[in-house]
Subunit: 403 residues, 2 copies
């Protein structure tokens, strides 16, 4: 398969427009009367579209590999998910809505409980309520703003979880977890894994010391455990690689963050699916690539809630004519990975994929489902990574390779 | 596609069990009234299983490549057959049932005939009977036990063939064949191909000299030709890579040897197919991965014996319910490569592949055959190398890749 350098050399700027609708975790395995969520849902608009489209199946990484949201999305955005890996800390920061810049080092944190000898007695501080977490983070932030030249940002998550962002020059991510992992062990500081990371380790450990001091009287949250240190990955942008002016519409911070990592503008403040399609319409003139992310297919899959997942897809289906009315040159509906309700989590099963454009070989698939994409889909089975070249091609945004 | 390091980092130990049934060379091309062996055989149990499974086709190496048993099996065991290559000498040693250890250097030997000027007049010593071969090997072994610190093992094969194993530290395989290849040429000694192999070459050549002395009066077998020098490949084990406790059940030494190379325990001393399934049942509690090898589909394919190959598959089919009764979490039936009866040898045609588990998308294939796997199989076409990740995934033995 060609690499991104080749795609970069072939991509050209045109006025044609691409809409990539990612219904997160949409793929399923048959579990309700032998049917999947897609096969159960009443989705007349997607089915009509399927009958005018080319369908197929995509593997986010490769067969048998269950991807996290990071690699699954990178692949779909045209970035080799083996070459580019986004560290835990960065993903977590994206998840709580932090705007990361290129110099940032991020990590995940737990508030924890330790005894007078600094022995960890609860790695989650009794799962303190989120409201208390927010207060503690505010207190920490008020007292720790900078360590040396490095700015510190402390952002609360749910319950005992938070994120720390260290912002400044020359920070490194080659750091061991400052987390003993087990109750009964002593509070742990970070170690540099390479000599170039020694200065960063000192800053992180100074942060831990100062935090403990601030938290002295905050039982049960009197310790911090930090892990998953990761630098901003500094990805080339979709503009650099594919000459696109890309924009993202999403409801969850994590996906806005992922989109931002590849240089997309984030549009609007959508809270509902309806909001998302409204924002798409309002901004349609301004960009040539739109990534629209539907979160709830995945959330209900993770909950094992088959019926609710069906309903989300039916809701999305009602907006399909609105997208068609915008007359995109290329319109793709797919998932980033599958989230089968009976597995209550991401899975390795390939994603149904539908591509609508003027220049396809329309195939035999007359419904949008895993089975039709498998057996009647003309696109066959391919890597998610190949979706961008395919979309660019169908939008006539690619030159010939060689003469 | 992901490499084994990634699979290694994702694999986890669980109680779930996998049975991989390899019917060697099972794949065929239509040759009897337009049907393949599988399409001709009466295999009701495999057909019922197919209707509850996901089917597909696997390429052992890549399209058009006919594999030997070594690379075909390595691929199926999750080892990249391009990265890991097992030398001829080692395969031959496995084939005659030698237990190789990590320091061993093995090669294939021919007894040959030479004249008084050491000119080879028959490269196969008139294809001496196997019984005579055994006697000659015994005589050689009695007189040549060690050369320097290196232990020597001489193991007879069929007719004029034998294997020599050199056991000791620092042996190298970078040696030219000690075989003139053509009648009318002079007896040949080995040359080291790199300077580090010079000491090994001396030992091998000393062996040849001593052997000729011993064989002085053994006409027509008065010379030895050695070729295919190969060291034990030192593969990582399936336990190291995939956290499996693997066991092998096979009737032929070569396949037990291949299984041993990847760290499988070899179970029982099966001589028949019935024995093999009995051994599987008896040992089912003790391991979590079982490789069961059926040799005769390949042997009859090589013989061009369509009918007998049909009968073997029908015999295997009768034991399928016994396997299902063991309730494996994942059960796969496939071949390592195809051995079409009309080709009388291995071929490049992909293998029919059937995967039964709780978490599949059951497909349209209601029979187990090349055609159904091609056109109604939901797994599509993939590399044998991807079979292990797919089996691990379906046994829930893999973590998510990335967050």
């Amino acid at each position: 398969m060609v690499n991104e350098e080749i795609i970069k050399s072939l991509s050209i700027k045109t006025d044609s427009k691409i809409v990539l609708l990612v219904s997160d975790g949409i793929g399923d395995i048959p579990s309700k009367q032998g049917k999947t969520v897609l096969e159960t849902a009443n989705i007349p608009n997607m089915d009509i579209l399927a009958s005018k489209s080319a369908c197929g199946l995509t593997d986010p990484i490769s067969r048998g590999i269950t991807p996290g949201s990071g690699p699954a999305h990178l692949s779909l955005f045209g970035y080799n998910p083996i070459k580019y890996q986004i560290g835990r800390g960065v993903l977590e920061a994206l998840g709580v809505g932090v705007e990361l810049s290129a110099d940032d080092l991020a990590c995940r944190g737990n508030f924890a409980t330790m005894d007078e000898f600094e022995i960890i007695t609860d790695r989650r501080a009794g799962r303190i309520p989120t409201e208390l977490n927010e207060k503690i983070c505010q207190k920490l932030q008020n007292q720790i703003k900078k360590i040396g030249n490095i700015e510190i940002f402390i952002i609360p998550g749910k319950e005992h979880r938070f994120v720390v962002v260290f912002r400044g020059k020359n920070l490194r991510e080659e750091l061991s977890d400052a987390d003993p992992q087990l109750v009964g062990k002593k509070l742990k500081y970070t170690d540099s894994l390479i000599s170039e990371a020694e200065a960063t380790a000192k800053i992180v450990n100074e942060f831990i010391k100062q935090a403990i001091k601030v938290l002295k009287d905050s039982l049960p949250a009197n310790a911090v455990l930090l892990r998953g240190f990761a630098k901003h990955p500094g990805l080339p942008t979709m503009k650099e690689l594919f000459k696109l002016s890309p924009a993202a519409i999403a409801t969850y911070p994590m996906y806005k963050g992922l989109a931002k990592l590849v240089g997309m503008d984030i549009l609007g403040k959508a809270e509902t699916i309806e909001d998302e399609f409204k924002i798409l319409k309002e901004n349609y003139a301004k960009y040539d690539f739109f990534y629209v992310h539907i979160k709830k297919t995945d959330s209900y899959g993770e909950d094992g809630n088959f019926e609710k997942k069906v309903q989300v897809i039916e809701e999305v289906d009602r907006f399909i004519p609105d997208i068609i009315n915008l007359k995109p040159d290329v319109f793709v509906i797919t998932g980033d990975h599958s989230t089968p309700a009976i597995l209550k989590g991401h899975s390795w099963h390939p994603n149904p994929f539908l591509l609508y454009s003027k220049y396809i070989r329309v195939d035999e698939a007359k419904q949008f489902s895993e089975k039709k994409c498998t057996f009647q889909g003309g696109l066959g089975r391919f890597f998610s990574l190949e979706a961008i070249p395919l979309m660019l091609a169908n939008a006539l945004k690619m030159k010939k390779y060689g003469a």
